[in-house]
């Protein structure tokens, strides 16, 4: 599996996460979000994306809810450029609210470590792999799990 993959690196607090560029439809600036009463806490609400109604979830809170005990450094950073990363999962659009979008980078599959090999994380449930860039660690997220419809868990 000596393949290269393009990743978008997003930031939530001090933590950095990688998302497969192929699943991203577009990245937009934060816009007014209509809240949904009685929805789970990580659901930010709905936005109007050129006539289409798209749900937006808070990436950080969603990760915490998926992986109990998973701690990422969420302390607010002064220089945030909040964005909504619109993901396309089989035609369904879902927005991820993040503190910032850092960069797009090409990653060699070889440089991707399996999380349990690295031994530094307990987040196997939500993380596909880990890699080092510069001086920080980036977690590649399991997008399938992240974008899985909420029906099964029940809303409210």
């Amino acid at each position: 599996m000596n393949q290269e993959a393009q990743m978008v690196i997003v930031r939530v607090g001090k933590s950095r996460f990688a998302l497969d560029v192929q699943l991203i439809r577009e990245i937009i600036k934060l816009k007014p979000i209509t809240p949904i009463p009685h929805a789970p806490g990580f659901v930010e609400g709905l936005i109007n994306l050129r006539g289409q109604i798209v749900s937006v979830i808070n990436l950080g809170q969603r990760l915490s809810s998926l992986e109990k005990g998973f701690e990422f450094n969420a302390e607010p950073q002064p220089l945030t450029e909040e964005r909504i990363v619109v993901m396309n999962q089989g035609g369904e659009l879902i927005g991820l609210r993040v503190d910032a979008v850092d960069q797009v980078m090409t990653i060699d599959a070889d440089s991707l470590e399996h999380p349990d090999e690295s031994g530094k994380q307990q987040a196997q449930g939500i993380v596909d792999g880990v890699f080092q860039t510069g001086d920080s660690l980036v977690l590649k997220l399991k997008s399938g799990l992240l974008l899985q419809p909420l029906n099964q868990e029940g809303v409210g």
Partner: protein
């Protein structure tokens, strides 16, 4: 199978249509329709289905349709009488085909053989003269031939079949047949022959010649017959006119009493059946011929995937928003540069507004489908149910041309069937019971669709035993739906509508038809999902009327926009009774609930500010704004921050990610581009009870 897969969707879609046509035709036959065209149509459709199923490799289907074809052939030739057992056998075939189709549609290719059915078809076939001699069936009456025949009929030509028998001991049957064929050509147009014209010219004939022809002068028919009989060794010439039956029916239609379809599911045993047949016979024939009841001709349609229309609708939504933006930019520029500089932009923007409005209208029309898509399936279902229950039912359908949004058409079928089942099972009495009560032995069931203003009204009416409001009151108290004192003061109409409450059934026994558990609450729920309302009226002893009111289209609904803590929410106008401004001091505390008294009636309040933000917000305002809403039985006052106004909104579904949201049915986009959630009032009113209790505990 991969190459077949491409065609599978098309095959299944076609088959569905074919089955519907077949069902219609068999029903028509059962209503003593003897129009040869009905049988020809049955035959043609079965034949097409045979061909396509054989092409797809479904041998079982091809075999069954082949047998059907043979049987229909015998019917067409008059070898088999149209009997109850024949009709039942044909219906059984259609059911079998439908079940196979459903299996295929489910992705499986394992079709269960239907040996019993084939056997019973065989039996029916054997009762007839088995010799496959030339007859009507041998004629290849293609669509072209039929069309031509009709054209000739329209010009007052004689159209029909001529059956010629040549003496058995004739040595040159082929020559005699060819002579007769040539003779016939002198008198008019020979449209089809058996044996075929090619075979005839080669002298092939076994002693029977059948011709389908049109003769220009009706008065010359006898002369034509005589000229054929002059040909040596021709023993028999029989003519049968195609036009006769059709014309008789045309005459009868002048006395047709009303514009409706009549189904007479011929009761098997009751004495009343014979009596009835006489009284309704005329009406059946008449209504059949006036176009309404006649087996409806399949229109030519372009088949479009429904999803594509939805995509188009979404695109249009984007266009509408851009249109608003364009107008905004125009006025901004106008302010900056004056009207002259932006004149041409103004023209363009206005034109775009116009075009997009028209586009929206067209698209909404595209989504409309006629009610006949639903009504077409009802006669068959009513027939089966009434047979099953041993009841005599005269089903009348009115307004099948009424158009509804396709999503309504898709969703109305189930609740409608439920109401029909209720009427047949609980409402209508048996013939004996009816006679004892001086009612006509045959029960009446009327299903009607009509447009009333911006709504569609669908009514199901029977003249059965009706519903006893006191029995409902009693049951409601037993089930703890209402208190005994409340039940006493409730009007009959209101009490009757309690049967839409979950788990409410006054029928003690469970029947095969109505089943158990699923009650009227399911019907109500379905109707409300379509933003509709349902109401029931009944007069004890003389019948029940259930009315369903639905919005014309689900894509656009009229709604009241309200402000709740700075966010705009949408309430379907169908649920809104009125809006009120009430002094805060008039709010009374009823246990954990707050309530107000509106015209002597106590209405519980739901504070949307609390419900939406889960926190109490103290407002200094001396007045509170209340939207009085109803979901049929339940009423409540919704406390909002402010009323914004009434407008038409385009309903957008919520994405699959969130699944079903508590209290909301969808969302819409407002003029400023914001998203507004649309309240699902029935669900909200149900959910609120839970919410209040949770607060209390």
């Amino acid at each position: 199978m991969s190459s077949n897969d491409e065609y599978m969707g098309l095959f299944l879609a076609e088959m569905e249509e074919q089955l519907e046509t077949l069902n219609q035709c068999v029903l028509a036959l059962e209503q003593s329709d003897r129009d040869p065209e009905t049988i020809n149509r049955l035959f043609r459709v079965a034949h097409t289905l045979k061909g396509s199923s054989a092409t797809m490799g479904f041998e079982l289907m091809a075999e069954l349709t082949h047998r059907m074809e043979n049987l229909l052939d015998d019917v067409r030739n008059g070898k088999i009488e149209i009997s109850e057992s024949l009709i039942d056998a044909l219906f059984a075939c259609l059911d079998q085909l439908q079940s196979w189709r459903d299996t295929l549609a489910g992705g499986s290719q394992d079709l269960e053989p239907a040996a019993d059915l084939l056997g019973s078809l065989e039996k029916l076939g054997q009762s007839s003269d088995a010799s496959p001699t030339s007859d009507m069936s041998e004629l290849n009456l293609t669509d072209t031939v039929i069309a031509n025949s009709k054209a000739f009929l329209a010009q007052n030509w004689w159209v029909g079949s001529v059956n010629i028998k040549i003496a058995d001991d004739c040595m040159m049957k082929g020559v005699r047949a060819f002579l007769a064929y040539n003779e016939a050509k002198q008198w008019g147009e020979v449209l089809s022959t058996s044996p075929t014209a090619d075979d005839l010219s080669e002298g092939a004939c076994d002693g029977n010649l059948l011709m389908w022809l049109a003769i220009s002068n009706r008065d010359e028919i006898e002369q034509f017959r005589a000229s054929l009989q002059e040909i040596p060794e021709i023993t028999e010439v029989s003519l049968s006119a195609w036009s006769d039956s059709a014309e008789k029916q045309k005459d009868l239609s002048l006395t047709a009493p009303e514009n409706s379809t009549v189904v007479h599911p011929g009761g098997s045993s009751a004495k009343a059946a014979d009596k009835n047949k006489q009284s309704t016979h005329g009406a059946q024939k008449a209504t059949k011929a006036d176009g309404q009841g006649k087996v409806s001709e399949a229109n030519e349609y372009l088949r479009i995937e429904a999803n594509k229309l939805d995509d188009l609708m979404n695109l249009l939504g984007e266009l509408v928003i851009d249109r608003a933006r364009l107008t905004q930019i125009e006025s901004e520029l106008e302010r900056k540069y004056g009207a002259e500089g932006t004149e041409s932009l103004g023209e363009v923007s206005q034109h775009i507004s116009l075009v997009s409005s028209e586009l929206q209208e067209c698209l909404l029309k595209l989504r409309m489908s006629p009610m006949s898509l639903v009504f077409g399936r009802l006669p068959r279902i009513v027939r089966d149910l009434s047979h099953q229950l041993g009841k005599e039912v005269n089903l009348r359908l009115e307004g099948e041309e009424t158009e509804l949004d396709r999503s309504v058409i898709q969703n109305i079928f189930e609740p409608l069937i439920h109401l029909i089942r209720n009427s047949l099972d609980h409402g209508l009495e048996t013939s004996e019971e009816r006679i004892a009560q001086n009612k006509p032995p045959q029960g009446e069931l009327l299903i009607k669709a009509e447009q009333v203003g911006g709504d569609i009204l669908i009514t199901v009416k029977d003249d059965g035993r009706g519903i006893d409001a006191n029995l409902i009151r009693q049951t409601a108290v037993e089930r703890g739906v209402v208190s005994a004192s409340d039940a006493k003061v409730t009007s009959d109409l209101e009490a009757l509508n309690w049967i839409f409450q979950p788990g409410f059934s006054t029928r003690k026994e469970v029947t095969e038809v109505s089943g158990r558990g699923v009650g009227m609450d399911v019907v109500k729920h379905k109707v409300e999902e379509m933003h509709g309302r349902i109401q029931l009226e009944s007069v004890l002893g003389s019948g029940t009327l259930t009315s369903i009111t639905l919005p014309l289209t689900l894509a656009v609904i009229r709604a009241l926009l309200v402000d709740v803590g700075g966010d705009a929410y949408t309430i379907p106008l169908g649920n809104v009774i009125e809006t009120l401004r009430i002094p805060r001091k008039d709010v009374v505390q009823l246990g954990v609930n707050q309530a107000v008294v509106v015209r002597g009636k106590t209405v519980s309040l739901i504070n949307l500010l609390e419900w939406c933000s889960s926190q109490t917000q103290a407002t200094a305002d001396d007045y509170i704004s209340i939207v009085l809403v109803s979901s049929g039985v339940r009423q409540a006052g919704l406390v909002v921050s402010n009323f914004i106004g009434e407008q038409e909104v385009v309903v957008k579904p919520l994405d699959k990610y969130l699944g079903r949201l508590q209290g909301f049915s969808g969302a819409t986009l407002l003029g400023d581009g914001r998203v507004s959630l649309i309240f699902d009032i029935p669900a909200l009113l149900q959910g609120v009870d839970v919410f209040l209790k949770r607060q209390a505990g």
